[in-house]
């Protein structure tokens, strides 16, 4: 982990139909860091992530990613920032009409840089990443044939295809049994070590947070109420924080 800032958010506010979801969020992510945002369902964790990649517009505040101000960036700047980010959605978000191989090839065949490589090279790359997430046997399977955990691993392999510097994990262990929760959490750590990426992980699963996070921050009622290592937060007296450690 270095002191280089990858993401810097200050005073982020977001409301839906008058209901405040994010109320002045300020946070930062350093290069090589795994930051976990803990929060109960519906507290706006995913909204922060979607504002970071501009799938949603912030109402107020600044979001700086890789030195680019996302709230008023051009289409070209947005494209450049997005090409450095991998986003693992909650259910994997695999494209239904394509098999796993085609899912992995889809973004690289449309990326200016990786498009220069041959199909053979890209297929080998897809096989390499599937091997890394332990899913090589499913390369020709359709998403409908995969279990929840397999979909997440395939989604992770797809995000790795563009060699992202930052990976955003949206509830990576939701809906998985304890064994698979641990497996996916271990995989996140392995990916971070192997590819030297930075990670933002949003979860309400304390086991996943413990395994994956260098630093944890707790979101409650639209505000970040605690920040620190797993050990320091486990001793925090606030009931909203303790709720996760019971």
């Amino acid at each position: 982990m270095t002191n280089n800032l990858i993401v810097h958010i200050s005073d982020l506010k977001k409301a839906f139909s008058g209901s405040v979801v994010l109320d002045g969020i300020t946070m930062e992510l350093h290069e090589g860091e795994n930051l976990v945002i803990l929060g109960q369902s519906g507290t706006g964790k995913s909204v922060i992530m979607k504002c970071i990649v501009k799938l949603m517009e912030a109402d107020e505040g600044q979001i700086n990613v890789f030195g680019t101000e996302m709230t008023n960036c051009s289409a070209k700047e947005l494209s450049s920032v997005r090409s450095r980010i991998g986003y693992l959605f909650q259910e994997g978000a695999l494209y239904d009409s394509m098999n796993v191989r085609e899912n992995l090839l889809f973004p690289v065949l449309r990326n200016k840089e990786s498009r220069k490589k041959s199909i053979k090279e890209l297929t080998e790359l897809a096989e390499f990443h599937l091997e890394n997430v332990g899913l090589i046997e499913a390369i020709d399977m359709m998403p409908a044939e995969l279990s929840g955990g397999m979909k997440k691993r395939a989604g992770l392999a797809r995000t790795l295809m563009l060699s992202p510097e930052l990976i955003i994990y949206d509830e990576p262990t939701t809906g998985l049994d304890p064994y698979r929760t641990e497996a996916i959490s271990d995989l996140i750590v392995q990916i971070q070590e192997k590819y030297n990426t930075s990670s933002l992980i949003i979860t309400h699963d304390i086991k996943c947070a413990k395994i994956t996070g260098n630093r944890l921050t707790v979101l409650h009622d639209g505000k970040l109420i605690a920040n620190g290592s797993f050990e320091s937060l486990s001793g925090d007296k606030q009931p909203e924080v303790q709720l996760f450690f019971k």
Binding site: K50, V53, L55, S79, R82, S83, I85, G86, Y87, F89, Q90, E91, A93, L94, Y95, D96, F106, P107, R110, N111, G155, R158, T159, L162
Partner: protein
């Protein structure tokens, strides 16, 4: 007294009209500035065209048969039975074919586009494409709209031909007319001006069925409930627009050609 529901619905309607207008602008912007997804376009042509063939075939033959069987006694009473092939053919080619086959197309293909894109929106597949910087609009919308625009006129030609065959079968059941005679009577008063406006308006029908269905699916919300609503809205709005465009086309044709 102002009913808040009517105000709300009017607001939604105006927002949808504005949304579709901006969708049209976005379509042309992407069509001419982004990479064309040729493989997906061919796939969509196959899905929209080939998979609609059976539906169009059955409907077209029945249309030709029914029209002939219903009109024949009236024309026979007037001693104008010889005009039957021409009358049926012109009514099918200029009006009934384009409208009926377009409505079927909206029901089958439009609802499919609406439901598929809505499902992709709900399951974050479209978001995943956007985040990986792969221009989902190009891949999902431009290809579907182009396929609908090109395939529908071809389906209408095909349907017109089968309705013609259906009409011959219907007439043959009651008379000894030969196919060459039926053919020559059908085309005796048939001119280019009959088929040209019909083809042009069918291109517009296809385009708007594609655009409206894509719009309804692309901006779907409210989870799985939204998928059903998008499919339904795609069919209802597309069908309504087909009738409105048809009215407009008839007026323009009348002004320009007659």
């Amino acid at each position: 007294m102002k009913d808040p529901r009517i105000i709300q619905q009017t607001k939604h309607l105006l927002l949808d009209i504005a949304g579709i207008a901006s969708f049209v602008v976005l379509f042309f912007k992407h069509l001419f500035t982004r990479r064309f997804e040729g493989k997906e376009f061919i796939n969509q042509c196959y899905r929209a065209g080939y998979q609609s063939l059976l539906l169009i075939s059955v409907t077209a033959v029945i249309l030709g048969l029914v029209l002939t069987i219903q009109i024949r006694p009236i024309l026979a009473d007037l001693g104008a039975e010889a005009w039957l092939p021409n009358m049926v053919f012109i009514s099918v080619v200029t009006e009934m074919g384009p409208v009926i086959f377009s409505l079927l197309f909206a029901g089958k293909v439009g609802s499919g586009i609406g439901a598929e894109l809505a499902s992709m929106r709900v399951t974050e597949q479209i978001d995943a494409m956007e985040v990986s910087d792969t221009y989902p609009f190009n891949y999902l919308v431009v290809t579907r709209v182009m396929a609908a625009t090109i395939v529908l006129p071809l389906l209408v030609f095909y349907g017109d031909f089968l309705a013609f065959i259906g009409s011959f079968i219907g007439l043959k059941a009651y008379s000894e007319i030969s196919f060459p005679l039926f053919f020559s009577r059908a085309f005796s008063e048939f001119y280019f001006r009959d088929i040209f406006p019909a083809t042009i308006k069918t291109i517009f029908f296809g385009y708007f069925i594609g655009i409206i269905s894509s719009y309804m699916g692309y901006f779907s919300s409210k989870g799985t409930e939204g998928v059903g609503k998008s499919a339904n809205a795609a069919v209802v709005a597309s069908s309504l627009v087909v009738f409105m465009l048809d009215l407009l086309a008839v007026q323009i044709t009348d002004l320009l050609l007659f």
